[in-house]
C-alpha cells in the first residue's frame, strides 16, 4: 500500500481528488474553492493601506488562510514521508528543448539550476522569483481568480467568464514558453 502511495500518482487519481475539493468545501461550510484569494486576505490583514479593495472583514474569510496553510503542511508531509525515491521522469522532448535553453533536467521536482538560494540576488532570481511571482499575484487578482477559482470552480459551475480566463491563462503560458523563453534565456 505504502509502496503504491510512494509512486507518482496518475492524473485521473489526482484530478478526481482535486475535483472533490469543490463539493468538500461547499458542504463543509459553503466555501468556494479559490486559492488566489488567500494572497488578497494577507494584504487585507497586513497592509490594507486604506485601499478600498482591501477594506473588508478579512477575519470572515480566514478559512482560506487555514486552507493554504494546510496546503503548505501537505507539501511537507508528502515530501518527507511519502516521496518517490526515483528521480522525476520528464518527457524526452521537453528534456531536449530545455537542454537547448541551457536548463539541465535533474532528479528533483524543480530544476536546481533555477530554484536555488544562490540565484536569489542574480538576474535569474529577479526573473524567476520576483517578476514571475509578481505576474502570478497581479494577474490572478486582475483576472478575478486562478486555476482553482476559474478553471476548476468556475468551469464546474459553468461560468463562461471562467472559460475565457482559462483560455487566456493557457495563451499566456504558451506565449511565455514558445516566444519569450528562447529570448529570455539568452540573458543568463
Amino acid at each position: 500500500m505504502l509502496e503504491a502511495i510512494r509512486q507518482p500518482w496518475p492524473w485521473y487519481v489526482a484530478g478526481a481528488l482535486i475535483g472533490l475539493t469543490v463539493p468538500a468545501l461547499l458542504l463543509l461550510g459553503n466555501k468556494h474553492f479559490g486559492i488566489s484569494s488567500s494572497l488578497r486576505h494577507i494584504c487585507a490583514a497586513c497592509f490594507p493601506a486604506k485601499i478600498p479593495f482591501f477594506q473588508y472583514d478579512w477575519r470572515r474569510e480566514v478559512w482560506n488562510l487555514f486552507f493554504v496553510g494546510g496546503v503548505l503542511i501537505g507539501g511537507f508531509v508528502a515530501t518527507q514521508f511519502l516521496s518517490n525515491p526515483e528521480p522525476i521522469r520528464v518527457a524526452e522532448k521537453t528534456v531536449e528543448e530545455l537542454q537547448q535553453l541551457n536548463i539541465q533536467t535533474d532528479s528533483q521536482l524543480m530544476p536546481a539550476s533555477i530554484f536555488s538560494i544562490e540565484n536569489l540576488l542574480t538576474l535569474k532570481g529577479l526573473v524567476f522569483f520576483v517578476i514571475g511571482g509578481f505576474l502570478v499575484g497581479f494577474g490572478t487578482r486582475y483576472a478575478g481568480g486562478c486555476t482553482s477559482g476559474h478553471s476548476i470552480m468556475g468551469l464546474s459551475t459553468l461560468q463562461w467568464p471562467s472559460l475565457v480566463a482559462t483560455c487566456c491563462f493557457m495563451a499566456g503560458g504558451f506565449l511565455m514558453v514558445h516566444l519569450i523563453f528562447p529570448w529570455l534565456m539568452q540573458l543568463f
Binding site: I18, H32, S37, T79, T94, P161, F169, G173
Partner: protein, 176 residues
C-alpha cells in the same frame, strides 16, 4: 464596516425561510457564504482539506516546474488529464448538489454565484499565464513548493502578495 459599498453586500437566501445579508469582499472568487460564524477550531477542517490537497499536489507532481513546461510544450497529457478530470468531477458534484439540494454540514443551502465578465478575465489572465510558465506554479502550488522544501519560493510568494497589493492599488485605473 464603514467603507462597504452596496457592491459588497450580497443578499442571499441561504435558508428557505428568510433572506440573510452577507458582506463579501468586493469581487471575491472564493467567498465564505456560511451564515454561522466560523470559530478558530471550526476553521481547522479547512486546514485538513488543505493538507490532503497539498499531498495530492506533490504526489501527482503538479507542483513540478517540469510538468508545467511539458504542458505548455504539449509533450505530456498529464496536466491536461489532471485539470480535465478535476473539472468533470467538480461539475458532476455541483450538479448533484443542485439536483438533490444537498445542504451543508450546518444545514444551510449551498450558495452559487454568477460571475460577470470583465476585461480583467482577459488581460489579467494573460499576465498570470506568463507568470505561471516562469514560476511553474499557480498560487496553490506555491504554498506546496515551499512546504516541499524549495524555500526560495518564499520570495516568489512574497512577490505574488506584492503583485496582488499593486493590483488593489491600481484597480481604479485599470481597464475592466
Amino acid at each position: 464596516m464603514e467603507t462597504l459599498t452596496k457592491e459588497n453586500i450580497h443578499t442571499i437566501t441561504a435558508t428557505d425561510e428568510q433572506p440573510v445579508v452577507i458582506e463579501h469582499p468586493l469581487e471575491c472568487e472564493a467567498p465564505n457564504d456560511q451564515i454561522a460564524r466560523e470559530t478558530w477550531t471550526s476553521n481547522l477542517k479547512y486546514a485538513v482539506v488543505g493538507i490532503l490537497f497539498g499531498i495530492v499536489f506533490v504526489k501527482a507532481e503538479i507542483i513540478s516546474w517540469y510538468r508545467i513546461q511539458e504542458m505548455f510544450r504539449l509533450h505530456s497529457f498529464h496536466m491536461y488529464g489532471v485539470i480535465g478530470t478535476a473539472v468533470i468531477v467538480g461539475m458532476i458534484s455541483v450538479w448533484l448538489i443542485k439536483k438533490f439540494n444537498v445542504k451543508t454540514l450546518q444545514g444551510e443551502k449551498v450558495v452559487f454565484h454568477t460571475k460577470e465578465f470583465h476585461w480583467g478575465n482577459v488581460f489579467g489572465a494573460l499576465l498570470f499565464g506568463l507568470g505561471w510558465a516562469i514560476t511553474g506554479a499557480c498560487p496553490g502550488p506555491l504554498f506546496a513548493q515551499i512546504g516541499s522544501g524549495f524555500l526560495v519560493v518564499t520570495v516568489t510568494l512574497i512577490s505574488a502578495i506584492a503583485g496582488t497589493w499593486v493590483y488593489g492599488f491600481l484597480r481604479e485605473k485599470l481597464p475592466h
